[in-house]
């Protein structure tokens, strides 16, 4: 078929095409979905894929029956990858190539579940090989991520077969204002961090009198510890594109850009292919589905600058300029890209749009809270047992997320805090863990939703070190345009470094607070004005830790290298030699089954020995 006659000429043509592919995708055998997300690839899902292909071929299944084998986007349970599922409730974790013949024989051919490949509950030791039975999945609600498990991101047909691009038919049949009404009524708020109501943004942009308007997608997910948008772009790119087309129709834009981080090469590749495929089908470009509406999307790669996630800096970067932000009082909906009215939403926000148009605002509001409807995708990372990509209704408490989905803290340590919102967010202590996760509650607690990175911290995490980490990050990423940010952050970094290295003095905490004040009032853009959050929130909830560093020259968590020494408790040590093997300095010595000793003169205090010790014999003082 040539490119030209693949073009769908009308909404009816899209519907009949959908029926046709859905029919052709029916199979005797279930489809094998091997997760192709980055962590699973790193854990060997390519080898598993090859093994499946080989087995299918050697059994002659490939030609007789249409047993399809797809590399899907992220399936979420990254810490237990590679993940394999079958389009039903069955799911296998940590699958290796040698498991493949058994899976084909039992699960694919005879619909039997192999429990031993399921999730092993660390407490009860029971196995569960179903989404319903694994706590990590059972406590989630999949509105955005559900399709990621089953759609081949490189096949537009797959997306269409599952109802993709259906919202266009509805939207095009409506007056653009009415589409905005829908989004307004749904209460959709921007998932990029600020939580600004999407409907309000769209309406203000449409209201500006202009020939040209732009619709942009912010895929510059720069917050360390966040990988939701990456997974969506890599796993379900057409959902993002569909959302953008609806947005373009609603605000009256004919050109769009998706700005994607340079550090996400796979996301760039997948999104580029998706845009080309959509254009080839007549879903992008001139006269979309024969409606007379034109809209195209260009992909811009970022250049590796965190500040370009800020809206005005992002727009300058698309223009090919240095990505410096400008003052906030100039609104992008009036003067955005090339100083023309622009709507900028992030990847996840756009992905919500087709759901709202297809199912209506009432349906959408059944999930989440009054003020923050819908679900939120989080990247759960840090010291939780289960880490990965998760989606829960807004309003889920931090504790539910950490303990039920995350399975609690690794190696039995105590849950201390969560960090949300990346460098613009703050730390919320365990004592506030019953707080519901929504835009307003998190802000009130001194943090923010941010784009959705949740880093779980245990008692072996030093909060001063965390503050120093974020301030160092921001000091490095400051673009240098305004002085509170350019000069204030390095000064804060210096004070925090002094504190963590034992040179802290009385008055340092107060000086930090004062600098925070200056930044929050004086900085030009969001990067600078929210930079105090990691410092202020840790001072607020963990002041005694700062004081221990300053007054007693002690790091209670045992992290700050200058303030701690590592010892092996001779009574607790069993002489298993594990720490000696893992020590990067090779400075732990001892006979097998004898207590080991650390050579203090060569110890770099990296803590590897403490992390690997199964007998809790490594002490930090």
């Amino acid at each position: 078929m040539t490119m030209e006659n693949r073009k769908l000429q009308s909404v009816a043509a899209l519907e009949s095409y959908r029926t046709k592919i859905a029919e052709s995708q029916k199979n005797e055998y279930p489809v094998i979905y091997v997760c192709g997300g980055t962590p699973c690839l790193a854990k060997g899902s390519r080898a598993v894929t090859e093994a499946f292909k080989k087995e299918i071929e050697s059994q002659g299944l490939a030609c007789k029956v249409e047993l399809r084998h797809k590399v899907t986007g992220c399936q979420g349970f990254c810490s237990k990858g590679p993940v394999v599922s079958f389009g039903n409730d069955t799911v296998y974790l940590e699958v290796k190539p040698e498991h493949v013949p058994e899976i084909i024989e039992k699960t694919v051919k005879n619909a039997q579940v192999i429990e031993s490949l399921g999730y092993k509950d660390p407490q009860t030791k029971k196995r569960a090989a179903s989404f319903q039975g694994i706590p990590f999945y059972a406590h989630q609600k999949g509105m955005i991520l559900k399709d990621l498990r089953e759609i081949d991101p490189l096949e537009i047909d797959d997306y269409i077969a599952r109802g993709g691009y259906a919202s266009l038919a509805k939207a095009f049949a409506m007056d653009p204002e009415k589409v905005i009404d829908l989004v307004d009524q749904s209460g959709l708020r921007g998932r990029g961090g600020g939580g600004f109501p999407a409907g309000t943004k769209w309406r203000s942009c449409r209201a500006i009198d202009s020939e040209v308007r732009y619709v942009l997608c912010n895929g510059d997910e720069g917050d360390p510890g966040a990988f939701m948008d990456r997974s969506i772009m890599e796993g379900n790119p057409h959902a993002v594109i569909e959302g953008m087309i609806v947005g373009a129709w609603a605000v009256g834009a004919h050109h769009g850009y998706a700005y994607i981080r340079d550090e996400y090469p796979l996301a760039v590749k997948v999104m580029k292919k998706a845009v080309e495929d959509a254009a080839a089908m007549g879903l992008l470009g001139r006269n979309i589905l024969g409606t007379g509406f034109d809209f195209d999307i260009k992909i811009t790669r970022g250049g590796g600058a965190f500040v370009c996630g800020e809206s005005s800096a992002l727009m300058r970067s698309i223009e090919g300029k240095v990505g410096e932000p400008r003052a906030k009082y100039i609104r992008s909906v009036e003067k955005g890209l090339y100083d023309l009215p622009t709507v900028l939403n992030n990847v996840e926000t756009w992905t919500n749009v087709p759901l709202i148009v297809n199912n209506g605002p009432k349906w959408y509001r059944q999930t989440g809270t009054q003020g923050s409807p819908g679900t939120k995708v989080f990247s759960l990372a840090g010291k939780a047992v289960n880490t990965g990509l998760v989606e829960v209704p807004m309003g889920t408490t931090i504790r539910e997320l950490v303990e039920k989905v995350g399975g609690g803290i690794r190696s039995g340590r105590k849950f201390k805090a969560v960090q949300t919102g990346g460098p613009s967010g703050g730390c919320i202590p365990e004592s506030l863990a019953d707080l519901p996760i929504d835009f307003d509650s998190l802000s009130k607690a001194g943090s923010m939703m941010g784009s959705g990175g949740i880093i779980v911290m245990d008692e072996a995490t030093c909060m001063v070190d965390v503050a120093k980490y974020f301030i160092s990050f921001l000091a490095e990423e400051s673009c240098g345009k305004c002085s509170p940010c350019r000069d204030g952050l390095p000064r804060m970094k210096q004070i925090l470094t002094d504190i963590t290295e034992g040179r802290g003095k009385e008055g340092d905490i107060e000086l930090l607070e004062e600098l925070c004040d200056v930044l929050s009032y004086g900085a030009l853009c969001g990067l600078g004005s929210s930079a105090p959050n990691p410092v202020l929130s840790t001072i607020k909830y963990f002041r005694e830790e700062y004081e221990a560093h300053i007054r007693d020259k002690r790091c209670p968590a045992g992290v700050c290298r200058n303030l701690v020494t590592f010892h092996i408790d001779a009574d607790a040590c069993t002489g298993c030699t594990l720490c000696a093997k893992q020590c990067p300095q090779e400075c732990i010595t001892g006979e097998r089954k004898q207590a080991h000793v650390i050579d203090q003169s060569r110890c770099i205090k990296c803590g590897v020995c403490r992390d690997v010790c199964k007998f809790d014999a490594v002490r930090v003082e």
Partner: protein, 153 residues
Amino acid sequence: MEIDIRKIDEIIERYDKSEESLLAILQDFQHTFRYVPEQGMKRISEVLDIPESKIYGVGTFYKALSLKPVGRHTCKVCTGTACHLKGAHTLTDIIGKELDVEPGETTRDGRFTLQTVNCVGACALAPVVMVDDDDYYEGSSPQDVLKNLRKYK
């Protein structure tokens, strides 16, 4: 390093003759030549009619661009939050020791450039090491990472 001017023109040809293409062209330079050559910036200035100073500004602003050649492979140690908590700092030290470079430097034989980067978005593998564009390694066992690095020639 000798740079083929035809290659430079070939890259510039791929894009619209507008300022919007600047970052993409520079990124393609980086990819092809492993750095942004001065001749390349001069050529863009002529073809796209942008002052050289502006091009230099963009070339030095973005971290993905380098005015000095980088190694045949880049080894990026992620220092995102999750990786930081799980010992990315130590991992950087260990890899730096093995390659005999500091972060930001290139090995003498031009094999590797060691970089620390802010989150590659694979937090479940923390601490994670990314080599070139496609290879990710879980860094919880530094010795395994070193073993893997030796595969790159």
